[in-house]
Symmetry: C2
Subunit: 333 residues, 2 copies
């Protein structure tokens, strides 16, 4: 079922059918009606591949994230999708699961699809891959990628400020022995986030911190908590890299008979919906996901218009959110 058959049935040329499909106003209304009728009768659906190929544009934007299971990323995705739709764009998503080969595959897939723009929401990305993307002349927006290269917009969260707020608050409650739970991608002193944590703690001499890591899933958080508490270390407060992980930690503590916040305080990061709904509700740091989604989409759209916009860095300041999972250090600890 193709354009030509529709054209034949409506007794017009393929160009006219194409014009009808693309809402060109030049078509006479009686002709248009004939064409529409033929389309319906034949149950015709335009071939999007042919369209993209012939038109030289795909009207599609790609979103690559490291873990769509985490509602934080999904919220960003949803905003992008909604914004894109209102502008007549489609969105294709790819999940990398924190695997760098998967990231390479996904990026190439997006290039192959000739997406009109690409949002990359992963914490780590090889410089060569950034170059590859840059050479493909695809407008790109990074979220939270350490050191971007090329003509891209990079959106960063001031993680440092966020973590400082958390550390300061815990310190004000009298906590001294802290735990930090991250995930593979960010553990290691090279990582910006990891450094932020270490620096925030180092500012206050009386503070001590140990770290543990796993993927940012419920189960991962639990495993990491187990690991953190396994070698006799008894933190009075545990800082988590995000809310999902924190919920996993909450469970492990419960299982060990440790009450939150009476025995141990726990903090999350992101302020996803779940952080309000778990028990106890998490003290966390809000990151405005919708705003991030809007910025990404807008930036992508403006870039695909002009040829070469100067690269930009956008920094977002997170807000501290006080809930029920934090409390004063237990007496005698």
């Amino acid at each position: 079922m193709n354009l030509e058959q529709v054209a034949r049935r409506a007794k017009v040329s393929t160009a006219t059918v194409s014009r009808v499909l693309n809402n060109a106003s030049v078509v006479k209304s009686t002709t248009r009606a004939r064409v529409v009728k033929a389309i319906e009768e034949l149950k015709y659906h335009p071939n999007l591949h042919a369209r993209s190929l012939a038109g030289g544009k795909s009207r599609t934007i790609g979103v690559i994230a490291s873990n769509m299971e985490n509602p934080f990323f999904f919220d960003i995705y949803k905003t992008i999708e909604s914004d894109a739709h209102t502008r007549g764009y489609e969105v294709v998503m790819a999940n990398t699961d924190y695997r760098s080969e998967q990231l390479v595959t996904s990026v190439r897939l997006m290039i192959g699809r000739r997406v009109a723009g690409l949002a990359v929401i992963v914490s780590e990305m090889a410089p060569e891959l950034m170059d590859e993307l840059n050479d493909a002349r695809i407008p790109v927006v990074f979220y939270d990628v350490g050191t971007p290269r090329g003509n891209v917009t990079n959106i960063r969260v001031n993680y440092r400020r966020g973590i400082e707020k958390v550390v300061d608050y815990l310190h004000s409650l009298g906590h001294r022995r802290l735990g930090f739970i991250g995930h593979h991608a960010i553990l290691g002193p090279i990582n910006e986030r990891m450094k932020a944590v270490m620096d925030a703690v180092a500012r206050i001499p009386s503070l001590e911190v140990r770290t543990a890591a796993d993927a940012d899933t419920l189960e991962g958080g639990r495993q990491a908590a187990r690991q953190l508490l396994s070698n006799g270390y008894e933190p009075t407060a545990i800082i988590c890299v995000n809310d999902v992980t924190a919920v996993g930690v909450l469970r492990e503590l419960r299982e060990r008979g440790l009450r939150v916040p009476q025995d141990v305080s726990v903090t999350g990061f992101d302020n996803v919906k779940l952080s309000e709904f778990c028990y106890p509700a998490l003290t966390t740091v809000h990151i405005p996901r919708e705003q991030i989604g809007h910025i990404i989409c807008e930036s992508l759209m403006s870039k695909s218009g002009k040829s070469a916009v100067a690269e930009a860095e956008i920094v977002i300041d997170p807000e501290f959110v006080l809930r029920d999972s934090t409390g004063p250090v237990p007496p005698g600890k």
Copy 2:
């Protein structure tokens, strides 16, 4: 950057480049090396649209779900994706957000992309849309769509059995006044699931039930609970259509000072990871999402091979999972 330029640089024909790209073994290794070199030097990425168009196949399968935010659907999606990848297929996803126009749009988009197969994981679908899909000759697998039409495989969960197990268990604990929390799509006596609930309750004369609904989100569950409890009704047990909703209900009960399970019992459905991690851990019904994902993928693959396989219905029997959110009816209730 296209095939021709690569061919020119490697001093071969476009056909040979194409053969290299598609791993045809007929190419002499020295020629292959020249081509690979040219591809790398030019940073060439094949245009997937052209490939699909010329090849007449897309090696892509589509997945449409009503709410990817719910980990239940996402788990199915992930399994499909992983299975598809091992077979060299790509996956594109679409989220309908329970909106029927969005479903129509998504289905047409998939047809337009000429996907090799399509999984539709939504509870409700207009018959005309099913016909449209059928006419497009795309292999389709439905999950949990009420009354499928055309040459499709339909995977159903024996919801009836699942809900009976829940109702029977609550009855055995002495509960009489029940609440059921669904979501828009399933409320209304026509719906299979709704009927299952009503029938399961009707079997036992002493039982009474009232219903409330909202979307299957944390917030939606909370709203629905509020609605259910707003008009003086005091159920001693609340059955939820899924786990996410149940976690929302848990929060509302906590806010009202009602203890679970001492004052009110709550049950979920699906047995997503979160159901173990929330507090209290949910008594629920397990639905094997990975199995469903595997079946979907396999069915799709086998269909795209043969021309017309007989339609099939696969029914999955759910299992009752006892945890901490259910207990005996409070004395005097």
